[in-house]
Amino acid sequence: MTATIIDGKAFAAKVREQVAEHVARLKDENGLTPGLAVVLVGEDPASQVYVRSKGKQTVEVGMNSYEHKLPADTSEADLLALIDQLNKDQSVHGILVQLPLPGHLNSDLVINSIDPAKDVDGFHISNVGLLGTGQKSMVPCTPLGCLMMLRDHHGSLSGMNAVVVGRSNIVGKPMAQLLLGDSCTVTIAHSRTKDLAAVCRSADILVAAVGRPEMIPGDWVKPGATVIDVGINRIERDGKNKLVGDVEFASAAEVAGAITPVPGGVGPMTIACLLANTLTACCRANGLSEPKGLTA
């Protein structure tokens, strides 16, 4: 194995530490405490785990956490009323509605009812458009985490050939925007791409976000390239449950210059970036300068 392993866990801890320092300073100097409201509708077990973990980390960096747990049969009107109330609440700087929502609720309508300035997930249609036009916005957490890791590893990304595999609204598309923003030449490949192997092989930076276990083998990776594996797939191997990425780790690590493992790569960065976004939202709402190194 030749590749440097990018330790997402350690890097996320560093990001959280930076966030905590900023939060402490905001309290001392401005009497402000950033607040994150998380709304969970229903009892999806995976969502409950996420929400608990988000709440815990929010408190650990010194922010206020407001959890709103609503029953699965909550009406759209009641949910929108809660969001309206959170939009107006000055102690709440970030609002996150945990997805997926129960089927009777219109997710688009709910997400687009959040004040874009408090939309720390970056899914509001205005934030998508602001990012798409290179303006200040709230940036989706997972691609922001990938960008931070890439910047940390490379310094400048300018002029590098980046290939993003997967064109999802949550990862692939915003990731492409962010890489363009950092002056990469960007190719977005997907299931309809003719020669995916050749496209991947042209990449100095390869971001895989398709959700197909070990789809990208090592011989699709250019020697020395940086591989960011966003996929988290649960598979069974040798009778055991295992988490693997979209990249075949062992063979890719022989070729790549640097690679993120799964688990312990991109995953831990997502919540760290959620906290960073909440901090950013708090600073913007109060006309303070944004925290350095924690935004796109």
Binding site: L130, G132, T133, G159, K173, V186, I188, K194
Partner: protein, 293 residues
Amino acid sequence: MRAALIDGKDIAARMRAENMAEAKELAAQGWQPRLVSISVGDTAAAELYVRNQQKTAENSGVEFEARNYPETISMEQLVGVLHGLNADPRVNGIIIQRPLPAHIPVKTLQKAVHPLKDVEGMHPASIGNIVYNDLALGPCTAVAAVEILKTLPLKLEGLDVTVIGHSEIVGKPIAFLLMGLGATVTVCHHMTRSVAMHSRAADAVFVAVGKPGLVTGDMLKPGAALIDIGINRVEGKTVGDADFDSCAEVAGWITPVPGGVGPVTVATLMKNAVLATRLQMAHYRAQYADTEV
């Protein structure tokens, strides 16, 4: 020359006829499409452009009112004007002509236009919809360039496309429109190490940079489509970003400048005006005129 010339004027004429038919149908239901163009201060630079829009509007069944405000108007006053137009049901689309005086940032005005009246497709919500593949009102030049590609006998799914230029109003939206259509898109710009390497691999090349002669024939794959969005003045002549003569030897299809993307862009503006009117009619009926009991 071996490339087939793409006749933008002809495509635009077809679109105008379609827009005209649809505008008449809307007018018969009491929804005559109507645009208001806003320019500020010295209009010499935009005058030709506005007159061209006005003429196309008339040929598309769309009413067009050109308003000019004095250079001294404040940002707040102008935003107030836009709010008035947003609220006026007789106005279906608002065009903000550039250039604007320095004290009026264009992005602030674009955000003040109601998304349902954003016929230029410049509101962040309009761009967001494009990124999310929900094509309603898109930025006219980008939509026009993609419409031109659609007229060619090429399968867009899996097509390798290189977009040269990553501007917010042209390059990036083209990339997202094409990605939504299933193309594999590469976006190049001034920091790209070798544009030729990417353009030579592409079945279709879009160029929107504003540099005459940037794309030459040796940068193209034989038989590729070349859509030239640049408009530059060189020695009193209007030229695109491609070196037309050398590119026409290699490409399979090529847009001329002028007469390529330009006319289709203005026709797209009118198409947006008709679509905006239709969306507003539907919105109005859903809000106020639902007579079913």
